[in-house]
C-alpha cells in the first residue's frame, strides 16, 4: 500500500472537518484537535488528509516534519475574520522560513466573492512563487479539490 499524506492546518477544527469531509471517502477519526480522512485513489494508492487545529503555541512540532509520506501543507484561514489571518500568519512564516515544502495558503470564503487581488495577500505572506495563495469555498468540494490539485502540482513540479 502506498500512502501520500497532506497536513491541513487551520485555527478552527470545523474548517478542517469541512475541508476533509468534502474530499474524503470517509472521515476515519476525529478528536478535539484532529480530523483524519482517507481518499482511496486505487487499490495500491491512498491519500491521507490530516486536518490539524492550530494552537496558540504553534502545532506540535512532530507534525512539522519532513515526514516520509508528507506531500505538503494546506493552511486555511477565514477571509472574513482578521483574527483567523493573525493566527495562521506566524505558522506560515515558520514553515516558509524553514524548508521549501510544498505549501498552499487558502482563504476560505462564505459566498465565493472577493475583491482583493491575490498578489496583495501573497506579498503580505512573503510566499515563494510555488507556494501559492488561493481562495476556496468550503461548501464547494470542487473548489477544495482544486486546492489539493494545486498542491499536488507543486509537488510534481519538484520532480522536473
Amino acid at each position: 500500500m502506498r500512502i501520500g499524506e497532506i497536513a491541513i492546518f487551520s485555527p478552527g477544527l470545523e474548517t478542517n472537518r469541512k475541508f476533509v469531509e468534502a474530499v474524503c471517502d470517509e472521515v476515519v477519526l476525529e478528536t478535539e484537535s484532529l480530523v483524519f480522512g482517507r481518499v482511496q485513489i486505487n487499490n495500491q494508492l491512498v491519500l491521507h488528509l490530516y486536518g490539524l487545529k492550530l494552537s496558540d503555541n504553534q502545532p506540535n512540532p512532530s507534525w512539522d516534519l519532513v515526514s516520509k509520506k508528507l506531500l505538503g501543507y494546506v493552511v486555511l484561514f477565514n477571509w472574513n475574520q482578521n483574527e483567523s489571518l493573525v493566527a495562521v500568519k506566524p505558522f506560515v512564516d515558520a514553515l516558509t522560513a524553514r524548508y521549501d515544502i510544498p505549501l498552499i495558503v487558502v482563504a476560505t470564503l462564505q459566498n465565493g466573492q472577493h475583491s482583493i487581488p491575490e498578489q496583495i495577500v501573497n506579498v503580505d505572506f512573503g510566499l515563494a512563487k510555488q507556494n501559492q495563495f488561493t481562495f476556496c469555498k468550503l461548501s464547494d468540494p470542487a473548489s477544495i479539490k482544486k486546492v489539493l490539485i494545486s498542491l499536488i502540482d507543486q509537488v510534481i513540479s519538484d520532480y522536473q
Binding site: S62, V66, I149
Partner: protein, 414 residues
C-alpha cells in the same frame, strides 16, 4: 477479538511509562524492553502488530534492529516506528531512506503517538481486509535472479501478484495477472519503458507478493513477447555498454562538436549534457527508450561529440567544490550572503531560482542550513513517485469533471 500487540524498545523504560499506560488503557497488549537485543529476541515470539524503537538503544541500536527485523521473513511486515532525540534533518532522511514506517521525535505528544498507532493499525486491518488474496510471496537479490527471470517464473506458474523491485533509491512495480504482465510503474516512466529499464538493473533486490490483482491492463504485449524482447534488449544494452566508458563516468561535449551536424535525436541527447552529466543521466533524461538513447549516445561517443571527462578535470572540479568554503568560517558565510544578495538582482534563470520574496527570509534559510530543495539531492526524499502523484491528481480532477465536486461556477480559484 484479538488484542493488538505493541513492542516498545527504549533505553529508559520510565520515559514511556505514560505512553505504556495510555496504550494499555486503550486495550493494547504492550511489552517494553530496554535494549535492542532483547527487542529482537522478543519480536520473533511476540510478533507485535507495531514495533516502536528508540534509535539510541544499548546492544543493538534502532537502525540495526530495524534492518534485522526487516531481514527476517517472520517479522519483515511489522510496521516499524523510530523514536529519536535527534532533530536533525539528516538523521530523519537517513531513517526514511532505510524505509521505516514512521519517525517521531522525543519528547513526543502522547495523543499524537496514540493516533499514529491507531492509524497504522487501522491501515493494516483495512489492507488485510481488502487484500484477502494475499497468500504468499518470495524475495531475493537481482544478482541471483534478475527481473526477467522473476517475470518468467510468475508467467510459467500463471500467478497474479506484484513484483517490487528496488535498485539504489528507486522502487519499481510490475503487476501480473494470471501470469501476464498487465502494468508497471517506475518514477514517471510509462509501463513498457518502466519494465525495460528494470530489466537492465543488475543490482538491487526484489520482492514478490502473490495476490489478487484487479487493475486494468496497460500492456498490449503478451508476456512471452516482453520476455523475448527483454532478452534482446538486455543483450544489446550490454553490448553497447561494453563499448562505452562506464555509464557513471562524468562526460562532456567533445572539442569538435561545433563542426558536426546532428539529427534531432542526437541534438536532444547533446542538449542534456551539463557540467555534471554522466552517460547514464543522458539515457534516463532522454525522451526515447533507454536502449535507443544509449545507441544514440554511443554513436555520439564514437564520433567524438561526447568524450569522457579526463580524471584530472574531474578531480579539479571536485577540489574546487571542496575548497569552495567552510561554512564555519564567518568570512565565507558573509561572502555567501553578499553573493546571494547580488545574485538576487540578476534576472531569474528559471522558475526555481526566483523562489522567494524578501531577502531576509532567504538569508535566514541559508543560515539555518538545509532546505527542502536540498533534500532532493538525497535519495528517495519523496515517498510517492511522479506517476503516483499524477494518478492522485487525475483522480481529484476526475471527481470535479464528473460533477462529483459540487458547484464550481464562482470561479474563485486562480
Amino acid at each position: 477479538m484479538e488484542r493488538k500487540r505493541i513492542l516498545i524498545a527504549v533505553k529508559i523504560a520510565q520515559q514511556i511509562q505514560e505512553l505504556r499506560n495510555a496504550l494499555i488503557s486503550k486495550g493494547y497488549e504492550v511489552k517494553v524492553v530496554d535494549n535492542g537485543s532483547a527487542a529482537l529476541a522478543l519480536c520473533r515470539d511476540f510478533l507485535p502488530h507495531v514495533m516502536l524503537a528508540e534509535v539510541e538503544l544499548p546492544k543493538i541500536d534502532g537502525h540495526h534492529l530495524f534492518r534485522e527485523i526487516k531481514s527476517q521473513t517472520s517479522t519483515q511486515n511489522i510496521p516499524f516506528i523510530l523514536l529519536s532525540k535527534h532533530r536533525s534533518v539528516e538523521e530523519r532522511v537517513h531513517s526514511m531512506n532505510m524505509g521505516v514506517d514512521d519517525y517521531i521525535n522525543m519528547p513526543f505528544d502522547i495523543n499524537e503517538m496514540l493516533l499514529r498507532f491507531e492509524i497504522i493499525l487501522k491501515e493494516i486491518d483495512r489492507f488485510e481486509a481488502t487484500a484477502t488474496g494475499v497468500s504468499k510471496g518470495f524475495a531475493g537479490k537481482l544478482v541471483d535472479m534478475n527481473v526477467l527471470e522473476v517475470i518468467q517464473a510468475l508467467h510459467i506458474g500463471k500467478k497474479s501478484g506484484i513484483i517490487k523491485i528496488q535498485h539504489e533509491a528507486k522502487e519499481g512495480l510490475i503487476f501480473l495477472k494470471d501470469g501476464e504482465v498487465i502494468d508497471a510503474t517506475l518514477e514517471q516512466l510509462e509501463a513498457s519503458n518502466a519494465v525495460f529499464r528494470m530489466i537492465i538493473w543488475a543490482e538491487g533486490s526484489f520482492r514478490v507478493e502473490i495476490r489478487k490483482i484487479e487493475q486494468p491492463r496497460a500492456f498490449n504485449k503478451l508476456t512471452q513477447e516482453i520476455i523475448k524482447e527483454g532478452l534482446i534488449f538486455r543483450d544489446r544494452w550490454e553490448q553497447l555498454r561494453r563499448a562505452l566508458p562506464p555509464l557513471l563516468a562524468p562526460i562532456k561535449l567533445g572539442p569538435n562538436v561545433a563542426r558536426q551536424n546532428f539529427n534531432a535525436e542526437e541534438k536532444e541527447i547533446l542538449s542534456k549534457i551539463d557540467e555534471h552529466s554522466r552517460l547514464l543521466d543522458l539515457v534516463e533524461r532522454s525522451r526515447s527508450n533507454d536502449l535507443k538513447a544509449l545507441q544514440v549516445a554511443a554513436g555520439l561517443f564514437t564520433r567524438g561529440a561526447i568524450v569522457e571527462k579526463p580524471a584530472e578535470e574531474v578531480r579539479q572540479n571536485g577540489a574546487s567544490k571542496e575548497n569552495s568554503g567552510n561554512l564555519n568560517d564567518p568570512t565565507h558565510l558573509s561572502n555567501l550572503i553578499v553573493n546571494f544578495i547580488e545574485k538576487k538582482t540578476e534576472p531569474a534563470k528559471n522558475g526555481f531560482t526566483d523562489r522567494r520574496h524578501g531577502e531576509r527570509r532567504q538569508i535566514e534559510r541559508r543560515l539555518r542550513g538545509r532546505r527542502w530543495s536540498d533534500l532532493k539531492t538525497q535519495k528517495n526524499h519523496l515517498y510517492l513517485n511522479k506517476s503516483e502523484l499524477l494518478i492522485i491528481r487525475e483522480k481529484l480532477s476526475d471527481n470535479i469533471a464528473n460533477g462529483k465536486g459540487g458547484d464550481d461556477q464562482h470561479g474563485m480559484l486562480f
